[in-house]
């Protein structure tokens, strides 16, 4: 929130700069680059395995991370940390608890690398320009938007800034390419397009490229309309540069992320729906500023919707739940598909950190509420005084009325480092993909076909297939995955065309626990279906750990035992299951009604980060916030549309 508070003002002003900044000439199509594509993936689909990655991370190359949060890690350090190496951070040697499989550094494209450049080259053109001196003397004011007025009026600053950003982009691309190790560690050329409508509604997107990136990123200074970003991606694709955009923090979009309207205020039409579906096949649902799956206000019947809520705007003030959550968007997508013949909200799910210190770790213990986010609990846990400050904050557990963090924000990076994150903020999320191998082509293809799942940070594995007439006992046999691919479709896809007389569709669901984490509580199916001009939703408990039985009166599966000892912040895998597997047939299927299904796997309760921090520092548990949580994963959906099918 700290960042985005500033960013809002920045982005609001960025619109002004668009009028005055010279538009760079279009780069000619790089014919040679298009030929350089990596070899295609040829392995059979049943060889797909789960790989875990981070698709949203900032380093000191992001203006807010550097100027406002004192982050000094660069993308080099970020990739090295991500692949499991020890890196030096603020004088400490820190290491990720386990290596990631793939990763994208997504620095803000606006003012990319400029603030770091000022410090690194105090005699350089940018540092010596009018804007550069402002950036050096008062980075806060500069980042808050005053730069924009300087940029528009001062030719040397503007030219030096263009130069700094171009060289920073080249460095980002080169670094991503240098760390890409096919078979071991996949990286993507990427950045974040940073737009805030009216200075407060978050519409940010991370842009991920399949292989080579464009000559320059398309920034919020170029345009603040998502449609223009998609035009840019379409144009790049025509030149052989494939990419996609991933919206994040729709929970803080004030209802604009999944609105019924286009950014010009007109109703969504078919062309918009098609262009959005093509360019935005994924949405980030878990990250440290709250989850975007759903809210108890939208899903009152869902017993597990009250999870890691952050429903205020990032600039502070009350948000709007309608139009801000992905489950509802899946429903709205059905409504629009019926009306337009195209679904703008046909997306799968990913999770990431959005941390700003260049260090991505999604373990609950790696988030300790410091303003820079990731922590190595073995090394740089907040000291007792800072921990007390973090844990004694007032909490609104819904996160709905929370003020923007740090309205009285300090300007000193050292003080910022000791700025507490809100207690209702979360540890990082994570993206899982099912891919044949750990290479750019295989992982990007998985992202494209939405064969992905999002987790709240755990490395549980979740997979779902759908089809017609799938035999009842097939999941008991080794090799069922190969049959599932042959007879059905994986998550992220449309069901095959339904034939006359087919019974209700079947889903095959499998969840396996994180090998070093908590056991599983239950596996659920969430169904959303069209109901006139609106949609309905229902959560089905499909399979759960064996120590409980469904209550025949309520139809509900009782809560799993909470084994967490709040005095020691330890839990026990004495309850729950290591694996859950089930074939589920929709008991309420109506072949005339469009529907969409996704799976959700819940872990048994484990200690939440403030509990871990309090116990580690011998402090009382904070009041007003749940001491434990049920980490989880959701699969990308499978869609059913009457008369259509893959």
């Amino acid at each position: 929130m700290m960042i985005d508070t500033r960013m809002s003002a920045l982005a609001a002003l960025a619109g002004l700069a668009a009028c005055s900044q010279p538009v760079p000439p279009e780069t000619p199509p790089p014919a040679i680059q298009a030929q350089r594509a990596s070899p295609p993936v040829t392995a059979a689909p049943e060889t797909r395995r789960a790989y875990f990655g981070e698709l949203h991370l900032h380093t000191g190359y992001s203006f807010d991370a550097y100027a406002l949060m004192g982050s000094r890690a660069d993308p080099d350090a970020a990739y090295r940390f991500g692949r499991g190496e020890a890196v030096t951070y603020l004088g400490d040697t820190v290491r990720r608890s386990r290596p990631l499989d793939f990763m994208a550094v997504t620095d803000h494209s606006e003012y990319l690398g400029s603030f770091m450049r000022i410090d690194k080259e105090p005699q350089g053109g940018l540092a010596q320009s009018k804007g550069g001196k402002l950036m050096a003397s008062n980075p806060l004011a500069a980042a808050l938007g005053q730069l924009v007025s300087v940029l528009s009026g001062d030719e040397p600053t503007s030219a030096a800034m263009d130069d700094a950003m171009a060289s920073a982009w080249k460095y980002e691309v080169d670094t991503a390419n240098r760390y890409n190790q096919p078979g071991k560690f996949t990286t993507f050329v990427a950045y974040e397009w940073t737009t805030m409508q009216e200075g407060k509604y978050n519409l940010h997107r991370n842009v991920i490229f399949a292989d080579e990136g464009p000559a320059a990123p398309f920034t919020a200074t170029d345009s603040r309309r998502p449609e223009d970003l998609w035009d840019f991606l379409d144009a790049q694709r025509a030149m052989g540069i494939e990419g996609l955009a991933i919206p994040h923090n729709s929970n803080a979009s004030g209802g604009l992320m999944f609105d019924w309207k286009k950014s010009d205020g007109r109703p969504i039409d078919e062309a918009y729906a098609q262009q959005r579906a093509l360019n935005e096949p994924l949405v980030e649902v878990y990250q440290h500023k709250g989850q975007s799956e759903t809210s108890p206000l939208l899903s009152p019947e869902d017993d597990f919707a009250d999870f890691e809520r952050s429903e205020a705007l990032l600039t502070g003030g009350k948000g709007e739940v309608n139009g801000s959550f992905t489950r509802q968007a899946l429903g709205r997508g059905l409504v629009l598909e019926k009306k337009l013949g195209a679904n703008p909200f046909a997306f799968g799910f990913v999770g990431s950190s959005d941390f700003h210190n260049g260090l991505s770790d999604s373990a609950e213990s790696a988030y300790a509420g410091n303003g820079l986010n990731s922590t190595d609990p073995q090394v740089n846990l907040p000291d007792k005084a800072f921990a007390r400050q973090i844990l004694s904050q007032k909490v609104d557990p819904t996160g709905a009325g929370a003020p923007a963090a740090n309205m009285n924000r300090p300007t000193d990076p050292e003080a910022l480092r000791h700025t507490a994150a809100l207690l209702n903020w979360s540890s990082a999320g994570l993206t899982g993909v099912w891919a044949e191998e750990n290479t750019r082509p295989a992982i990007y293809a998985a992202l494209r076909r939405r064969e992905t799942f999002a987790t709240s940070g755990t490395q549980l594995r979740l997979r779902m297939f759908g089809g017609w007439n799938l035999p009842g006992g097939m999941m008991q046999q080794a090799g069922w995955v190969a049959r599932a691919y042959r007879m059905g479709v994986p998550m992220g896809a449309d069901l095959p065309l339904r034939r006359e007389g087919n019974p209700a569709p079947t889903l095959l669901l499998e969840a396996a626990k994180d090998p070093i984490g908590a056991n599983l509580d239950r596996l659920q199916v969430i169904k959303i279906w069209l109901d006139g001009e609106d949609y309905k939703e229902k959560v089905f408990d499909v399979v759960w750990s064996s120590e409980r039985q469904r209550d025949p009166r309520t139809g509900k599966v009782p809560a799993v035992k909470n084994t967490v000892d709040l005095a020691t912040a330890k839990y026990e895998n004495s309850v729950g299951a290591t694996m859950l597997r089930a074939l589920w047939q929709d008991p309420e299927f109506d072949p005339a009604v469009p529907a969409v299904y996704y799976a959700r796997a819940l872990e048994i309760p484990t200690p939440r980060w403030p509990t871990l921090l309090a116990v580690a520092r011998g402090l009382p548990l904070p009041e007003g916030i749940a001491p434990t949580l049920q980490e989880r994963g959701i699969s990308s959906p499978i869609w059913y549309t009457p008369g259509k099918g893959s």
Binding site: P99, D412, P413, R461, S546, N573, T578
Partner: protein, 289 residues
């Protein structure tokens, strides 16, 4: 009042005593220095605060960012006054040397200076001979990881079924002949593959967690069934078809890695050299640690 003024030399003696008093010397010197430094600082703009148009614009921008609109003229005057007060306190603090004992200021300056020093010397790209010498000196750190290729049969274990699961595994192991190359159907479906090629210990930790299975795989005999070994999910029978100890890799294969490492080290060395040069100008004294 009558004083004993018989002693005409009295006031003079008192005066002389005072003149000889060291405290008075000290005070006098202080006054002289204070007057001199005041004049000096006044003459050198230390007591001049210029509020530029740029400063006012910056104050307005901060206000806009916080409240969304420009400050009214009265409010702006107050903000400028606050800025001036702040500047006065800053300069007075500077003059009294308050920054010297401040850890936050110290760290900020360390950071800025470290950045200046870093990147001063960018190492020239090394020749192949240089890289080869580097590699020769560290060949063991470029050795490949040990690898195994194996197939496994899995027996799921849930809380409460631990022993039962292990017994099932042992029963199946009894019936497995050395010539049976793979037998996933004799166990439960495993939520990943049944056959793995060139599996490293990092792969094993990633899939099986920090369990016995993750290490036992690399000690298992080649060409026959072994186990059961416990993983995070249950018990496994394993048949390793080939095992390869970690071994040195030829220079050609790891040249890129070597070059990266060399450059990284050269950069670190250059930074350290640079710091050492500066350090040479300093004398460090103090108690031994």
């Amino acid at each position: 009042m009558v004083t004993s003024s018989g002693d005409a030399g009295g006031p003079v003696r008192v005066f002389m005593r005072v003149v000889k008093e060291p405290l008075v010397h000290f005070l006098l010197v202080g006054v002289v220095l204070w007057v001199a430094s005041s004049h000096y600082r006044a003459a050198h703009d230390d007591y001049r605060i210029v509020v530029t148009a740029q400063t006012i614009e910056r104050i307005k921008a901060d206000y806009r960012a916080e409240y969304g609109s420009d400050p009214a003229p009265g409010r702006l005057r107050n903000l400028v006054n606050a800025y001036v007060d702040g500047e006065i306190l800053y300069r007075e603090g500077q003059a009294r040397g308050l920054a010297a004992d401040d850890e936050i200021v110290r760290r900020r300056i360390i950071q800025k200076t470290a950045f200046m020093i870093e990147g001063v010397d960018t190492p020239a790209p090394p020749s192949d001979d240089v890289l080869r010498a580097w590699y020769d000196a560290r060949a063991e750190s470029y050795a490949s990881q040990g690898k195994v290729s194996f197939t496994h049969v899995f027996f799921a274990a849930e809380p409460g079924t631990e022993q039962q699961s292990r017994k099932r595994a042992l029963a199946v192991l009894d019936g497995l002949k050395p010539g049976t190359l793979r037998a996933p159907v004799r166990g439960d479906p495993f939520p990943d593959l049944s056959d793995f090629t060139d599996f490293t210990s990092a792969d094993a930790r990633r899939l099986f967690g920090t369990s016995a299975m993750a290490t036992a795989l690399f000690a298992a005999p080649v060409g026959r069934w072994a186990g059961p070994f416990r993983s995070a999910y249950g018990w496994h029978l394993v048949r390793v078809s080939s095992a390869q100890a970690g071994r040195p890799q030829p220079f050609e294969r790891v040249r890129d890695q070597v070059r990266e490492d060399w450059i990284e080290q050269a950069r670190k060395d250059a930074n350290a050299r640079h710091l050492a040069e500066i350090r040479a100008r300093y004398t460090v004294v103090g108690a031994d640690i």
